[in-house]
């Protein structure tokens, strides 16, 4: 029992959207004038509230929405949980309730341990104050004790790389410096439970890497982290388990990879895989156009999935204008979280096509593909005479790779997250011989 850090039972959060509907989608502040009309009933409402019958609001269903409903889950101590879901699914509401910024309408939550919440970096930063002042201010807003901030001050400044400017008002900082300092304070929050929202989605690539590094450091310290993010790769890298929320309800909870692939499958399904090509944003002069893509095995049979290590043929159906010259076809493969694995153009192996028929199919044989089990997205781009003919932006097909005896040893290979399988030869030698080889 005691290893549960966060227990959420039947959590629900209701919002009123009456004002929103009245004003054509624009949220307006309630003005006194609006309320005077209903003022007469206000004392009775207040009286009802006093008697603890606030639930009567729930009758006005048309004016309210449930941002969260019947949400229950447990988080163990030391667990790194990624929360995923579409915009408006209720992720941020959940985080706000857990960090006590807003109250739930129904349900019960127990949290064991000091909670630090990072819904934003640099909360409370004041542009007129110096970096030093803001570190103390922001630290105390995040819940750090003065002594704690003083102890970590040098580490914070060093992490943010703003030593020279620490006594300059932050309004003179570049946006990068500002963000680094803001994140640095947050990163030194020493609570047992950390609630994080989209903090990683700030700054340039180098800084994001640094943030991710810090996050995995935090994760490895055995603290409980609850991370809401749109960055699926970050969730995949950092989290052990995941929580998928859609329309205010928990759709799935479990190991990170299972929940994530379910989520990705679902969002692809909703985007429409079949008519994807027609609706995809694409560029190019259109002299050669991709009209379809599928996979075949060595015998030319259409397949949905292939085993690791088995040759796969990517078939790209096209239509072309007459008199095409030097057509170069490129295929790319990326993981479900948009991590590119390879890009391969026919020109790399010295192959160009000319005088294409009006309709036809390119076939690219991926000899001995080294993919580990999972789903992969295929991208296609066609170049004719050194100018782009067609480039659909998005995945034109999904290849499913299933487990096989890749190594021929009966061993399934690495069970964790790794995208590639490589065949290898191992030898055993003594120290002097390898030393000798290096010399020569």
């Amino acid at each position: 029992m005691s290893d549960i850090a966060i227990r959420v039972e039947n959590l629900g959060k209701q919002y009123r959207i009456g004002a929103l509907q009245k004003n054509g989608g624009h949220y307006t502040y309630k003005s006194l004038r609006d309320s005077i009309a209903s003022a007469a009933s206000a004392p009775f409402r207040a009286a009802r509230a006093l008697m603890g019958r606030d639930g009567s609001q729930a009758n006005h269903d048309e004016d309210t929405i449930w941002a969260l409903k019947d949400v229950s889950f447990d988080v163990k101590h030391g667990d790194i949980v990624g929360v995923i879901g579409r915009n408006g699914a209720g992720k941020s509401t959940l985080l706000k309730i857990l960090s006590r910024i807003t109250e739930p309408t129904t349900g019960h939550i127990e949290i064991r341990g000091r909670v630090g919440s990072l819904l934003e970096v640099g909360t409370g930063f004041h542009p007129e104050l110096t970096g030093r002042d803001n570190v103390y201010l922001n630290g105390s807003i995040l819940g750090m004790k003065n002594a704690e901030i003083a102890k970590n001050f040098d580490a914070i400044v060093a992490f943010a790389e703003v030593e020279k400017f620490i006594d300059t008002p932050v309004k003179h900082y570049s946006s990068g410096m500002y963000l680094r300092l803001a994140f640095a304070v947050a990163a030194h929050l020493q609570t047992e439970i950390l609630l994080v929202d989209e903090v990683l989605a700030v700054g340039d690539a180098a800084f994001q890497r640094k943030c991710l590094g810090k996050m995995s450091e935090v994760a490895s310290e055995g603290r409980t982290v609850f991370l809401v993010s749109h960055n699926l790769a970050a969730v995949e890298n950092l989290c052990v388990s995941a929580l998928w929320i859609s329309s205010g309800r928990v759709t799935a909870q479990g190991s990170c990879s299972t929940v994530l692939s379910g989520y990705i499958q679902d969002s692809r399904g909703q985007d429409g895989r079949s008519n994807g090509l027609e609706q995809m944003r694409r560029s190019g002069n259109g002299r050669v156009k991709v009209t379809g893509c599928w996979f075949e095995d060595e015998n030319g049979c259409m397949i949905q999935r292939a085993k690791s290590g088995e040759p796969v043929i990517v078939a790209i159906e096209f239509q072309a204008a007459p008199n095409t010259r030097n057509v170069d076809v490129g295929v790319s493969l990326s993981s479900l979280w948009d991590q590119m694995l390879f890009v391969h153009y026919s020109s790399y192996v010295g192959q160009y096509f000319s005088d294409l028929p009006a309709r036809g199919v390119f076939r690219c044989v991926l000899v001995q593909q080294p993919l580990s089990p999972g789903d992969y997205q295929v991208g296609v781009r066609i170049v004719e005479n050194a100018s782009e003919a067609d480039w659909p932006r998005g995945s034109v097909a999904t290849l499913e790779i299933v487990q096989s005896d890749f190594y021929g040893t009966g061993h399934a290979g690495f069970s964790g997250q790794a995208l590639l399988l490589l065949d290898s030869r191992w030898t055993l030698g003594n120290v002097t011989s390898s030393f000798h080889n290096m010399r020569s």
Binding site: L98, E110, T123, E128, S140
Partner: protein
Amino acid sequence: MKSNSTDAAVAIQVDKSLIPLTVIDPSSGWVALKLGELWEYRELLYFLTWREIKVRYKQTALGAAWAIIQPLFTMLVFSLFFGRLAKVPSDGIPYPLFTLAGLIPWTFFSNGLTQSSNSLVSSANLISKVYFPRLTIPLSAVLSGVVDFAISFILLVGMMAFYRQAPPLRCLYLPAFFFMAFVTALGVGLWLSALNVEYRDVRYTVPFLTQFWMFATPIAYPSSMLHGIWRTLYGLNPMVGVVEGFRWALLGTNTAPGPMIAVSSIASVLILVGGVFYFRRMEKTFADVV
């Protein structure tokens, strides 16, 4: 000393039974005040107040002199129009000193009131991103005014020296009257700041409110113009007690009858208690509405 406290913190982490347990349940209606929690967050209160003070006169040419200019010029205008032209009585005290003794606590009150009533809305980004007792926000707004009060008090002392007005022994009561002004400013500030979250009308009401309230307070005129029970009832405006109390304690006037002060004290405490409860009741919706 320092290392001792960190050792203690480590010990707390190790002992599982001492891990703090937070329970979140929906609340309804009137809620407990949880003033103990406010005490836990006293460092934050300190930092927020400190921020207000540090930022207030940033990028102004005159800086903290503004704390003196405000009451000084009001005093000059009042002395000219009410003292010289309208010949308003001033309980036997030189009129400029008479009105300044009222203006100093009044300026603290009206600034505190204005700052705190806007405080929640201007801290919207804090409220919607971090949890802490919301009471710290209007409280720090009023607290930060104490520094301005101290600066402007120098003006009052200077004026007293100019008119060779030695303070009587009963000036030791002054902190009590200042506290009364503080309690009133915070009380009204809590009501208005909580209302302002939902009704932005408050923002437009506050300048009127302070203006009317000022003329309803005996700053330009003495409360001795009223007699008997009316004077006591006048004390329902807590600032009447504050202003007359200041004059009584500093200038030795006989303008602070006991019943009036008592009524003002009770009124100020009631405003504060009501304000705190109302604030706590509205607090749970702040993050959603602000």
